[in-house]
């Protein structure tokens, strides 16, 4: 096992406590029938790759590489449609051009953080999310919603949890899988296997490649599991026991 794969194990800290098992009927069917899988990563700066040392270290780029490695001989493409600072509404306006027009099988929608820090209104946000989800659904595309990031001193934004709740509730109502990013990042932070700079780039100048890599690895775990039915060994130190 290469060094990179060994360090990837730390990404799975606490994975059993917050599983990610998305339902991917459209993507699974497409992969079986055509051997192709196209994913659009729609989002704000996390998706765009803010803080990554190079574009290839953004989470969509790492996800593409991971999926290609784990699903060899399949044609896999992850399109990055992240624009820093955008609210859910800004993204709703570009779903037609940036998502539907790309004809993907799956969309990973990372949003709500800018709505939370701008306090756009919870009721309004729920309406926006529903519209976005229905639009994607109507196009026959699978969707995964990404929970907000974990932050040190989150209470700077007093309604942060309320906005996370809007995302969770809307997803549940419309039966959309949620990628539990917040809980994961919290586990990473608790695991002592990362420095805080690695996770959130707290001084804004350090890179957060490790955090993006783990994000991509964990999304890949969930997607590959759902697409192939394989169960990943979530043991934190995968030592062969022969």
């Amino acid at each position: 096992m290469s060094l990179a794969l060994t360090t990837d194990q730390r990404c799975r800290a606490g994975a059993a406590d917050h599983p990610f098992q998305p339902g991917l009927s459209a993507a699974k069917k497409a992969l079986q029938e055509t051997g192709k899988l196209t994913i659009v990563a729609l989002g704000s700066s996390t998706t765009a790759g803010a803080g990554a040392s190079q574009p290839e270290h953004s989470y969509p780029a790492v996800l593409e590489a991971e999926l290609k490695r784990r699903l060899p001989e399949r044609e896999i493409k992850v399109v990055n449609k992240g624009i820093g600072g955008q609210s859910a509404y800004d993204m709703l306006l570009r779903i037609d051009a940036d998502v539907v027009a790309e004809k993907p099988n799956l969309v990973i929608w990372q949003t709500v953080v800018n709505d939370a820090i701008r306090d756009v209104g919870e009721e309004k946000l729920a309406k926006i999310l529903k519209k976005g989800i229905r639009k994607v659904e109507a196009a026959g595309i699978d969707m995964v919603l990404m929970d907000l990031q974990w932050l040190p001193r989150e209470d700077r934004y007093p309604k942060y949890d309320e906005y996370r709740e809007v995302l969770a509730k809307t997803a549940q109502e419309l039966n959309v899988s949620v990628f539990p990013r917040h809980a994961m990042m919290k586990s990473w932070a608790k695991s002592n296997k990362f420095t805080e700079e690695e996770l959130v780039g707290m001084d804004g100048l350090h890179m957060v490649d490790a955090s993006y890599r783990c994000l991509a690895v964990r999304i890949a775990d969930g997607l590959v599991g759902a697409l192939t039915g394989e169960k990943l060994d979530l043991a934190e130190s995968p030592k062969p026991t022969n």
């Binding site: 570009r94 701008r118 306090d119 700077r156």
Partner: protein, 407 residues
């Protein structure tokens, strides 16, 4: 109806009434206090709204209608451009007018670059000092930190604009277009509006916008927003020609009705009209409007506001000559400086609000302090201008009075 004839004649042919038109246009138009007061108000609203999540912003106009302060600002820019540069072109010709516009464009550009640099510095300092990466997200400034050399070049060519630093670039483009637009409006306001509307809607359908690093395009798409500027030029030119808006109770009612409709839509949580067929449309209006491409409802809303304002708030109205109006006008007269200061203050304010956990007292204090500082800046600049003008007036006389031996 006697009044609508000159108005229609103006709209189609761009002409004022009778043979005295040329003289009318050359006679200086007194400064209209309404423009300064409304612009001052728009500047304050922009300042408050640039600190999203604060309680005061919940009372700002965008909660009660489709248009907001930015729309007003651009419309006024068109009107003011005519009163300043249109009048100059009439008196001194296109060459002098264009030179003055060029000088103004340079000032705007330098101001934009300076504000850009200051904001990047404030955010960089805040992020390192507070360990909150979301300050970078809040104004989409990460391209600057990710790839500074490229971002600097793009900032200089206006192809990289963090949030809140997008309205001056729009104004630079619009003012640069002014000589052409003005001549078109001079020829025929109706034709100018038609062409402008076609460019706007054509760009929306084709997805045309100016490029912006790390985003889909300019936040204020110039192809779309030029429409409001053109509308402003048409209104400004009418003011220059002393054309009065026709009195029409029908239009008054339609405008008022539209404002009430917008208010009902924005403050209701569901569909206030009960007609199920409208549900989807109402919900689309409630969740937002496309600001980048200037959603049509924004223009209708602004048009209704402007119509009623022109009809019912005369130039000498107590609304603008009262204490509030006069103080707003003090800021409106120095809009570039107050706008730039407002941007920096609002971004500093965003950081202060988050660092104090959005405590209510601090929110109110930050808003009040900011408004006081912007008003203070306006007052200072007015005072400074009057001192400088006294100086320049007394200079020639001093020079005349000076004895040759002094030279």
């Amino acid at each position: 109806m006697s009044q609508s004839f000159p108005f229609l004649r103006y709209l189609l042919l761009g002409k004022g009434g009778g043979a005295g038109a040329a003289a009318t246009i050359l006679a200086p138009l007194g400064r209209d206090g309404r423009i300064d007061a409304v612009r001052g108000l728009a500047l304050l609203i922009i300042f408050i709204n640039h600190m999203p999540g604060n309680v005061v912003s919940g009372f700002m106009p965008h909660n009660f209608g489709f248009s907001d302060a930015a729309d007003i600002f651009v419309l006024l820019a068109g009107i003011s451009a005519v009163l300043a540069y249109g009048a100059l072109i009439e008196r001194r010709g296109l060459g002098v007018g264009a030179a003055r516009i060029g000088a103004r464009l340079w000032t705007l550009y330098i101001a934009h670059i300076a504000v850009f640099l200051i904001v990047c510095g404030v955010v960089a300092r805040a992020v390192t000092g507070t360990h909150n990466p979301l300050y970078i997200e809040a104004i989409n400034i990460q391209p600057f930190f990710n790839d500074t050399p490229a971002a600097v070049v793009d900032a200089l060519t206006l192809t990289y604009q963090p949030y809140y630093l997008d309205i001056l670039p729009l104004y630079i483009v619009l003012l640069g277009l002014f000589p052409v637009l003005y001549h078109l409006v001079r020829f025929s306001p109706a034709l100018a509006l038609l062409i402008s509307a076609l460019v706007w809607q054509g760009a929306v359908h084709l997805g045309l916008n100016f490029p912006n690093t790390g985003a889909a395009g300019w936040f204020f798409n110039p192809f779309a927003w030029q429409f409001l500027f053109t509308l402003g030029v048409v209104i400004g030119r009418a003011m220059l020609l002393r054309i009065e808006a026709p009195r029409s109770h029908l239009v008054d009612l339609l405008a008022a009705g539209f404002l009430v409709f917008a208010l009902l839509v924005k403050v209701s949580s569901g569909n206030p009209f009960g007609l199920a067929i409208l549900n989807d449309w109402i919900e689309n209006l409630q969740i937002g409007s496309d600001k980048t491409n200037l959603a049509i409802v924004r223009v209708l809303h602004l048009g209704a506001l402007a119509w009623l304002f022109i009809r019912f708030v005369p130039a000498g109205s107590a609304l603008v000559s009262g204490v509030v109006g006069r103080n707003l006008a003090v800021m409106g007269r120095h809009s570039l400086e107050v706008f730039c200061a407002g941007i920096v203050l609002s971004i500093a304010g965003q950081i202060i609000l988050a660092e104090t956990y959005f405590a209510l007292g601090v929110q109110l204090l930050v808003c009040l302090t900011g408004i006081t500082m912007l008003l203070g800046l306006g007052m200072f600049l007015s005072w400074y201008q009057s001192v400088a003008q006294q100086g320049s007036v007394s200079k020639p006389s001093a020079a005349l009075g000076a004895s040759p031996s002094q030279s």
